[in-house]
Symmetry: C2
């Protein structure tokens, strides 16, 4: 398949992992990589790597492998990371502040361009160079900023209302750290990071350890 159609989410997640590996390789001065070598680094098997990369068109040279630089560029394009994205971050609690300071966003091409919180105590303060604005101002502030991505780093009970405000402001992709299922219009895409989910899986595995 030559042009990029819908790529399944598991594949997208692995492409992001390959990107990290390819960046490392570039820093190490590696110029070519086989599906097997890339798979080993990323923790997947070679066939999986080839199938994933086949979504991006034909790239590899039989008998040789893939060229690190061009492959990386191709994945960046497929993931839509080349232009950079503005992001609204809602919640200036400890998680929100950690995210505001996280350097990885910028490296991946994401720019947190505004920070919001409901708590009047936090409004007006600065976090990582950004002033905290009240949540009610999301829509008006985004009229200029035109960010399409929002991150919710607020407590569960506030999350649904925040999601509504973000969508109202024109956001169409939400990354949700609150432990609740958001109900949003179906043109809005939501990804959730839920600690209690991760912990539940670990805990189950732990309690099974040794049996099987």
């Amino acid at each position: 398949m030559s042009s990029v159609r819908r790529i399944p989410a598991p594949t997208l997640e692995r492409l992001a992992a390959y990107l990290t590996c390819l960046r490392e390789m570039q820093e190490e001065g590696v110029a070519k990589v086989s599906s097997e070598a890339l798979g080993k680094r990323a923790g997947n098997n070679a066939a999986q790597v080839r199938k994933d990369l086949s979504h991006l068109g034909q790239f590899g040279k039989p008998g040789v492998g893939y060229e690190v630089g061009p492959l990386r560029d191709r994945i960046v394009r497929a993931l839509g990371l080349s232009g950079g994205h503005k992001v609204l971050l809602v919640g200036a609690g400890s998680l929100g502040r950690a995210l505001a300071r996280y350097q990885g966003f910028r490296r991946e091409g994401f720019e947190i361009c505004a920070l919001f919180d409901n708590d009047p105590q936090k409004v007006g303060h600065k976090v990582g160079g950004l002033e905290v604005f009240p949540v009610e101002e999301i829509a008006t502030r985004n009229r200029e900023l035109r960010a399409a991505i929002g991150i919710i780093a607020a407590p569960g009970p506030a999350a649904q209302a925040i999601a509504g405000a973000l969508v109202e402001a024109g956001v169409t992709c939400i990354l949700n750290f609150a432990p609740v299922r958001l109900r949003v219009a179906k043109h809005v895409a939501v990804r959730a990071v839920d600690l209690s989910r991760e912990l539940a899986v670990l805990s189950h595995w732990l309690s099974r350890r040794g049996r099987e």
Copy 2:
């Protein structure tokens, strides 16, 4: 299937979500719930809910539904959450501090019992009532604590060495926030929370918006 065998990870994740819903319902004084009602709350369809719960044995009453309290207890048991778990947290940067302060851990039965960091500037300081110890002390300190779960909230380059130290100290389950694939012995279970993965998926969706 009456006794609990291996439960697939997607099911475990949903069970954690049901648990949150059931807790809410208990607070609201709801005593009984049908698979459809629970599904609606958790964002899954009724058949999925019944299939998931069938891993825990037979519980529901046809024509009535499930009793909220007993069902919740049963899920807690299946997830191995009843006894509580001690957790070692490594990394006292902004993410580590946010996790150390996160109240959700305790509510789910996880207790962060020690905090470690490589940075001498951070060692000795207190975060959320916990003193920060140097990473080299993980093994000795865990000789008494006997925690089996470790959380890595350190930068990528440090993560692999930390994972080694945790495993050395007897940890068998790791929750990794660093954007690297950890290589560990196969008796060790790893779950990864990777922001670049989440962002990559959102970004791809964003760049596809409107076509299809």
